[in-house]
Symmetry: C2
Subunit: 504 residues, 2 copies
C-alpha cells in the first residue's frame, strides 16, 4: 500500500543530539500523521535508501517544521545514511516480539539463550525505547540472574556486535571496575605490554558519570575515534592501541544499556559481568586482568562483594574461553595527582617519561597490574612480572611505545593547560584522614571536566600526609573563570570531601 511519492515528507536534518534514541518531528497537519493516526511518542518506522529505522515521534503544532517536511535527529539521520532533500516513508513500527521476554523476566521467569539473543539484537537495531531498556534493567536487577543467564547475556552481547581476531595466542587486555578518580593505569599498562610484544587491543569508554574516561584522557594527546580498519592497522603495527570503544562496534548493546543504567542509577551484577567480558571477547582477547578497587567510596565497598564479583567473572570467563585474573586494589583515594582529562594525561606522561614529578602511586599501580598481566599471559615466570614491568618503563621502552601508538592513531600532541587555576588551602592543620572519591569527582566535573579537557582537580595531598593550615590541599583548574567559582562554592559547602584530623 505505497503512497504516491509526492505525499511522502522530505527529510530535514535538525542537528539534535538525542543520544541513541532516534527522534522524528512531524507536523500535526501532515498527511501521513493524519492518515496513519500517529500520536506523539508513537514508534514510527522510517524507510529510505533500503534502510529502516524505528524512531520516536514528536508531533509539532508550529512552523518549526515547514509543511511537507519531517525533521530527524542526528542519530536518525546517520542511521538512515540519508542526504538532504530525500523523501522518507513513514508507517507504524511493527510490534517488537522480544518485549514479551522482558515482560516474562519482569514476572520472574528465567530467560534462555535464544531470548537473550533476540533482546540484544533488538537493542542494537534500535527497536526499543529507553523505557523498554529501563524495564529490562529493572527486571534483571530484581531477580538475580542465574549463572546460565549471565553466560547467555555475555554471548548475546558479543554476537550482537562486531568481533576482532588476531594472530597468535598472547592477546591480552585489562579492565578497571571504575569508581576511582585519576586511576589512569591503562595507557601505561598498554604501553608496557605492547612494548613486550603482546597484542593488547584496548578500547575504552568516555566518562559517563565520572570526570574522565580513558578515551577522554587519550583524546588530549591523540585521535581516539578510529574506524574498525584503523584500529586493526594500529594494533597490527604496534601491538596495541588506546582507542575509544564507541566508534568501533564491540558489544554495542552494552553501551546502550549502560546509558540507561546511569539514568536509573541501577546496576546489576549480571550486566556488569556481561558488560566487561563481552567487550574483551569481542576485541579478541584471551587473557584479561581485572582491577577492582575496594574502598568506602569506590564502586565496590567491601572485600567480600569484590571477591564474589571476582568469582563470577572468572567462572563466566572460563566458559567463554577467556582467562580472567582479578586483582583487588586500594580504592580509598584518587590515584595520581590529576582528576580530569588533561591533568590525568600529564600524570601518565610523567610516569612514562620517568619524571621526578610523576605520581609514584600511579606508577606503582601500573607496574603492579602490568606485571600481573605479564605473569597471567605466561610471558614471564611467576614473581618476575612486576620487576620486568618496571624495567620496561625505566628503560624508556614504554614511553617509546606510547608515542608510537599515538603517532599511528593520528599524531601525538601535548595535553592542553587551562587558563584558570585556583588553589584551595587546608582548613586546619593535621593529617589527611579520609578522601571521598565521589565528592572529588563532582568537584572536577563542576570545574568543567570532562567536556573541557583542561579542567579538573589537582591533588596536592594524599591520605596520611601531614598538612598545615593554609597550605595547598588541591588546585581547581578550569577553562573559564565562571566554572572556578561553581567548583569553589561546591568545595566550600562540601569540605568533608577531604577530612583532616589532628591525629592519624
Amino acid at each position: 500500500m505505497d503512497k504516491t511519492e509526492s505525499i511522502l515528507p522530505v527529510a530535514l536534518r535538525l542537528g539534535i543530539n538525542s543520544r541513541h534514541e532516534p527522534l522524528i518531528f512531524l507536523r500535526s497537519d501532515s498527511p501521513v500523521a493524519r492518515s496513519e493516526g500517529f500520536e506523539s511518542m508513537s514508534r514510527v518506522k522510517v524507510e529510505v535508501n533500503n534502510k529502516t529505522i524505528i524512531a520516536t515521534l514528536l508531533i509539532v503544532y508550529s512552523d518549526l517544521i515547514k509543511p511537507g517536511f519531517a525533521g530527524l535527529s542526528e542519530t536518525a539521520w546517520k542511521r538512515l545514511n540519508i542526504t538532504e532533500g530525500q523523501r522518507i516513508k513513514l508507517s507504524h513500527a511493527p510490534q517488537v516480539d522480544s518485549l514479551a521476554y522482558i515482560r516474562a523476566k519482569a514476572f520472574g521467569h528465567e530467560l534462555n539463550k535464544h531470548q537473550l539473543q533476540e533482546i540484544m539484537r533488538d537493542i542494537v537495531e534500535g527497536h526499543y525505547m529507553d523505557v523498554h531498556l529501563a524495564a529490562f534493567i529493572t527486571a534483571c536487577a530484581n531477580n538475580n540472574m542465574s549463572h546460565e543467564e549471565i553466560l547467555y547475556l555475555t554471548e548475546a552481547m558479543v554476537d550482537a556486535g562486531e568481533t576482532l581476531t588476531w594472530p597468535g595466542d598472547k592477546i591480552v587486555d585489562k579492565h578497571c571496575v571504575g569508581g576511582l578518580p585519576g586511576n589512569r593505569t591503562s595507557p601505561i599498562v598498554v604501553s608496557i605490554l605492547a612494548a613486550k610484544g603482546l597484542t593488547i587491543p584496548k578500547t575504552s569508554s568516555r566518562a559517563i558519570t565520572s570526570p574522565a574516561g580513558t578515551a577522554d584522557v587519550m583524546e588530549t594527546m591523540t585521535k581516539v575515534d578510529l574506524t574498525f580498519e584503523q584500529l586493526k592497522q594500529v594494533v597490527e603495527q604496534h601491538n596495541g592501541c588506546l582507542a575509544w570503544g564507541g566508534s568501533v562496534s564491540l558489544s554495542p548493546a552494552d553501551d546502550i544499556l549502560i546509558s540507561v543504567e546511569k539514568a536509573l542509577d541501577i546496576d546489576f551484577e549480571g550486566q556488569l559481568i556481561a558488560s566487561i567480558l563481552s567487550k574483551k571477547i569481542a576485541a579478541g582477547s584471551k587473557y584479561v586482568l581485572i582491577d577492582i578497587p575496594v574502598g568506602p567510596t569506590a564502586k565496590l565497598r567491601s572485600k567480600e562483594s569484590a571477591q564474589a564479583l571476582a568469582k563470577q567473572l572468572k567462572a563466566t570467563g572460563d566458559e567463554m574461553g577467556l582467562k580472567v585474573k582479578v586483582v583487588l586494589t586500594d580504592g580509598s583515594q584518587p590515584v595520581g595527582y590529576g582528576i580530569g582529562p588533561a591533568l590525568e594525561a600529564w600524570d601518565v606522561i610523567g610516569v612514562l617519561k620517568n619524571l621526578n614529578s610523576a605520581p609514584q602511586d600511579l606508577k606503582e599501580r601500573s607496574v603492579l597490574l602490568a606485571g600481573e598481566l605479564l605473569e597471567h599471559a605466561e610471558v614471564v615466570k611467576p614473581g618476575e612480572g612486576l620487576k620486568e614491568a618496571q624495567r620496561v618503563i625505566e628503560s624508556g621502552e614504554a614511553w617509546d611505545k606510547f608515542t608510537q601508538i599515538c603517532e599511528a592513531q593520528g599524531g601525538f600532541t601535548e595535553p592542553p593547560v587551562g587558563c584558570c587555576k585556583m588553589n584551595v588551602n587546608a582548613y586546619k592543620t593535621g593529617y589527611i584522614r579520609r578522601i571521598n572519591n565521589r565528592l572529588l569527582g563532582r568537584l572536577a566535573k563542576l570545574a568543567g571536566a570532562p567536556a573541557d579537557h583542561a579542567s579538573g582537580v589537582y591533588m596536592e595531598a594524599k591520605v596520611g600526609d601531614f598538612i598545615t593550615e593554609g597550605s595547598t590541599l588541591l588546585a581547581i583548574h578550569s577553562e573559564a573563570p565562571g566554572e572556578l567559582e561553581y567548583a569553589l562554592e561546591f568545595y566550600n559547602t562540601h569540605k568533608e570531601m577531604i577530612i583532616i584530623e589532628e591525629e592519624l
Copy 2:
C-alpha cells in the same frame, strides 16, 4: 550564584507535543550549556516567574534554535506559565531522593506509606523521566505488592492530586476494567442514576490503546474538557457529568503511570487497583460498581483471575471507606454495533431514545449495571434495581437527563457521520462462532478511530447469528478513503477476527 540577566536564554515556544515529559532544546554553543557542562538527555532545572520545572535537555548543533534562545516543548511551556520573550534560568536538576525507593523496590524491598507518597508526589511534579517510571512499574510487577503497599499506593495517588466533595451520602460511580470494544454503558448508567437523583461525578479517559474511550465518545456530542469549577457546577445542577478526567487533576500520577505502562505493555494488579480506586475516591464517591468483562480476548481472561481482582478491589476499597461492588460480565464479543467514537455515540443515543434500531445488548448491560448500582447504593430494594433502571430509560427520563448534562457541559450536538463506508461481507455461510475483540479494535483504529471521530467499525452480526456468504458482516467507516483501504487490507489478512463455522 545568579548569572547576569543578559546571558540567560530567551524562552521560545516550539509547539512540540512531548506528552507529560517536558523537553528543552539548547544550542551546544550557548553559554549556559557550556558553563553548566550540560549534555543531551541531562535533566535541567528551568526557572521563571517563581515557577520551576525539571526538563529533559536535547542539545542542538544547528540553527534550529537561534543564538540566545532556548526552545521549550508544550508541556514545559504550559507548566512554566511563561510568555514569549521571557528569559529562563537553567541549572542542573537536583537529585531526586525518592529514586532511592524505586531502587529499593527493584531490589525486592517493601515500601512504606511515606516512600510511596514521595514517589507519587515526584511523579506529579514531573521530577522523573519516563525511564524512572518504567523502573517503578517493572519493580512493582515483579514482586507482587503487599496489601498494605496497594493501600498506601492508592492513598498516595489520591493525595498527590485534587479531590472533590459533595453534599449527602449517595455519591456513586461506575468503572469498567476495559478491553471490550463498544462497551459504552457509562453515558447510559450516568443518565439513569442522575435521573434517579443520585450524585454521579463521572470522569472518563480518552482511548489509550483502544478505538474509543468514554471521553472520546462524549466529545462527539458535547464538550468534555471541563475545568474543575465547571465540573462541580454541572454536577451540582444535574447530579451527574460525563467529563474527561484529563482536564481535572484527580489522581494525576495514575494518568502518567498508565501512559508508560502502555508503552511497556506491562500491567500490574496493584497499580490497576490503585488506579481505579484512587480516581473514584478523589472524585468523592462512596459507592462504586465495577464491571469486569471476562472473555478470551478481554482484559481478564478467566473467571478465577477476575474474582481474585474483585476480592482485592473490595478489600482495598473497604479500608478507604469506599463501598465496592463487582459484576463479572460476558467479555466474549463487542457490545452494541458501533466501535469508534461517533458510531458508539449513535448506539448510546439509540438506547436512551428507545429506538427500535438500538442495540439490545448495550441496553441490557446498561440497565443491569444501573440496577446493580441502585441496589448497591440502597436506593431501591434488592431485586428491584433492574426493573427500575429499565423504567427510567423507557419513560424518557434518562434521555432527558442525558441532554441536560450535555447542555450544561456546553451544548448537545449530534455525532458526525463519516464520508466513507465500505461493507465487508461474510466469506462463507454459517454461524458466527467467535469474535476477537483485540483484532476488531485494531481494525477500527486503522480506519481512523479515535482521532477521526466518525471512523470505526459497525458490526452487523453477533456471536451465534447465522449468516450467508456474501451478506454484510460489518462495515468500515472512515473520514478518508485511504484509511478504508488500510483497514480493508488488515481485515483481509486477519479474517480470523470473526470465525464462521458451519455448525454452532
